[in-house]
């Protein structure tokens, strides 16, 4: 197994040591550029995605490479561009709709939930919607309640939408490429705090299947399931647990739909304890679904109830003094894990 700079392990088959390091943002950009070069049906539409290269600077250079017909600055019309994405996808294009902040996905709900998610099934399988909606999640930028949410649970709830939550540059690139090639709508959430995070990404082409969890660390005493931003918090916790003699296995599902239930259940059967961690609000969060999948599949093997940790059930407050309290941290994960192993 190779190790990322930050200590996250990745599947050995696809990694060799000494690979080049790029950032999460570069990985996303590379995935999109490669797919645009490979398939002329792919285009990007969103606010300030072209000339400015997106507000997070992730798409810088795409406009020069592919021109304004395929990298399109839109008005501030989230519902409109999502609708354009659906219509273009049904009629043979492969749109990537860019929604700057995950919070603004509430504005595209009808187009995504009632249109994109329903079209294939409702048309008796005649129509397909091969579109990607990329957006962000994550708090701690002192941006307050309307720019800090992690809303992936909303979309994970909907049959007909796939939801990807990459945590590493490697995963980001592989999942983005698969999302673009997928015949159906995929919503991909990128943690805006991760864009500068470095990690190994091979030069050669690869994709990652949607629906395959990744074991980021192997361990014996407890399974910690973590998504996106929380993979890093979990990793810090895993190291702290290690130092007190608790061996934790860290699993990143990478997609919430489809969900790799086998990997989750097998790990929990092995360790007999599980803790699920995600930055979405805890109430009705994806942790609930994952915990229930584990409880169902590993019931007879479990030594403790499955615990879940999410963001506090409050609108994200602005003040640093409060915001930090609302996001799960490593110490809290360690305490919870200890109580399960106690």
């Amino acid at each position: 197994m190779s190790t990322l700079e930050n200590g996250i392990h990745c599947s050995p088959a696809i990694h060799a040591p000494g690979e080049r390091q790029i950032t999460f943002g570069q990985a996303i950009r590379e995935a999109i550029a490669e797919e645009m070069a490979r398939d002329e049906r792919v285009f990007v539409i969103g606010e300030d995605v072209a000339a400015a290269g997106s507000v997070f600077k992730v798409l810088v250079g795409l406009l020069d490479e592919f021109g304004p017909e395929r990298v399109i600055d839109s008005p501030i019309s989230e519902a409109g561009i999502a609708g354009i994405g659906v219509g273009a996808a049904i009629t043979g294009m492969r749109p990537i709709v860019d929604i700057m902040f995950g919070d603004f996905t509430t504005l595209v709900m009808d187009q995504l939930v009632n249109q994109a998610a329903k079209t294939h099934y409702m048309s008796g399988g005649k129509l397909t919607v091969p579109m990607v909606l990329r957006t962000t999640l994550g708090a701690s930028r002192r941006s307050a309640a309307q720019h800090s949410q992690s809303l992936h649970a909303l979309f994970s709830h909907i049959p007909g939408l796939k939801v990807a939550l990459p945590a590493t540059p490697f995963d980001a690139k592989g999942l983005m490429k698969s999302a673009i090639r997928d015949e159906n709508p995929v919503v991909i959430f990128e943690d805006k705090m991760l864009y500068q995070e470095q990690g190994p990404v091979p030069e050669e082409e690869y994709t990652l299947p949607l629906g395959q969890a990744d074991v980021k660390r192997t361990g014996d005493d407890i399974t910690i399931v973590a998504t996106s931003s929380m993979v890093y918090v979990a990793l810090e916790a895993v190291e702290k647990l290690d130092s007190i003699g608790i061996s934790a296995e860290l699993i990143d599902p990478r997609t919430t739909t489809p969900l790799d239930t086998d990997t989750l259940v097998q790990s929990a059967r092995k360790t007999s304890r599980a803790l699920v961690l995600d930055e979405g609000y805890r109430q009705y969060g994806v942790t609930g679904e994952i915990a229930s999948v584990i409880a169902d599949g590993a019931f007879y093997y479990l030594d403790a109830p499955v615990k879940r940790i999410g963001a506090m059930n409050v609108p994200v407050p602005f003040s640093p003094a409060m915001e930090d309290l609302t996001i799960p941290n490593a110490d809290y994960v360690v305490e919870t894990a200890k109580s399960l192993c106690g």
């Binding site: 606010e47 008005p75 019309s77 409109g80 602005f318 003094a321 409060m322 309290l325």
Partner: protein
């Protein structure tokens, strides 16, 4: 109602004293914003903020025509609206610094200042997000039978949002007392509105039959005179209006946007010649409504007040941990 205001009789309706008050409000906003920028660059303020510098004539021109019990809704670039509607400097700065003494107890920050005492229903981080709220306030005014007015401030970027058009349509159908004030500062983030708004801005509202006009947003006298007319009209049951106030944000989209590669320095210099503060100063001096030393005194007083407010905010304490789930009902 006339589409132009060149010969507007109410242009000079304010007496010298009121113009000086408007001037003070504009200086207050300018100084507040320059100070907010300093707080950011010296890493004394969490997060980022969007400065209103260059657009002061709009907030002040409109709000000087409002009563305390009239409503406004504001935007991510909202400090000017809040101050113009009567917000206090100390609670504003305290909010920007995330302190408990702030308008929202540190929960909202720069983008979300609300103050029901001055009729401020809240700044909004969602572009166009307050169009419904302002219109709902108009509905409430009508149902309660008062003669208040509701003003919705938003940027030209919000013209991209469908909610605005649903709201204006209903406001016109039901003759709601709502004034839609589009602050057309030419850009939404890094995109010029020529690439974002097709057709006529004014025509968007006149298509619904809403009284609509485009005006010079740098000249407070024009803004105020026009605002007075449409506000009085709405108060009397005349229905909504839509004002496109042409203006320019003198700084970047937010405090971190310092290079501004999406626009030219020449364009900025052209607009700088029409600084709303200088325009008002020149007029006040030329029309002999004020002398230089009076304006200087106002600037000095505002500076002192701002310094005191910053000191207050910096000394104020952060919210305690228990504040985080205070006001949570579900």
């Amino acid at each position: 109602m006339s589409e132009t205001n060149d010969t507007n009789p109410s242009l000079n309706e304010l007496d010298a004293e009121h113009w000086l008050q408007a001037y003070e409000q504009m200086v207050k906003i300018r100084t507040f914003e320059e100070t907010a920028n300093e707080l950011y660059t010296s890493a004394r303020m969490p997060g980022i903020t969007h400065l209103y510098i260059g657009e002061e004539a709009i907030a002040v021109g409109v709000c000087e025509a409002l009563r305390q019990d009239d409503y406004i809704t504001s935007t991510h670039r909202g400090h000017g609206h809040c101050l113009a509607k009567g917000a206090a400097l100390d609670k504003m700065f305290a909010e920007l610094l995330g302190k408990e003494a702030g308008y929202c107890r540190g929960k909202g920050g720069s983008m979300h200042i609300a103050d029901q005492e001055t009729g401020n229903l809240g700044a909004n981080g969602i572009v166009g997000g307050s169009a419904g709220i302002a219109t709902g306030a108009g509905m409430s005014i009508k149902l309660r039978g008062t003669d208040q007015v509701s003003v919705c401030f938003f940027g030209d970027g919000a013209l991209g949002q469908g909610l605005l058009y649903e709201s204006m349509n209903m406001a016109q159908l039901w003759k709601l007392p709502v004034i839609y004030v589009c602050e057309n500062n030419q850009y939404g983030e890094y995109t010029h509105n020529s690439k974002a708004a097709a057709g006529s801005m004014v025509g968007r509202a006149s298509g619904f039959g809403v009284h609509a006009q485009a005006i010079d947003g740098q000249d407070i006298r024009t803004v105020h005179a026009t605002a007075r007319l449409v506000i009085d009209r709405a108060r009397k049951g005349g229905g909504p209006a839509f004002l496109v106030c042409n203006t320019y944000r003198f700084r970047g989209h937010h405090v971190g946007d310092i290079d501004r590669p999406y626009r030219t320095r020449e364009e900025e210099e052209e607009w700088a010649k029409r600084d709303p503060l200088t325009l008002l100063e020149d007029w006040l001096l030329k029309s002999k409504q004020a002398e230089e030393h009076v304006l200087e005194r106002i600037q000095q007083e505002v500076k002192t007040a701002v310094d005191d407010a910053v000191a207050f905010a910096e000394e104020a304490s952060f919210p305690s941990e228990s504040e985080v789930d205070n006001h949570v009902y579900a």
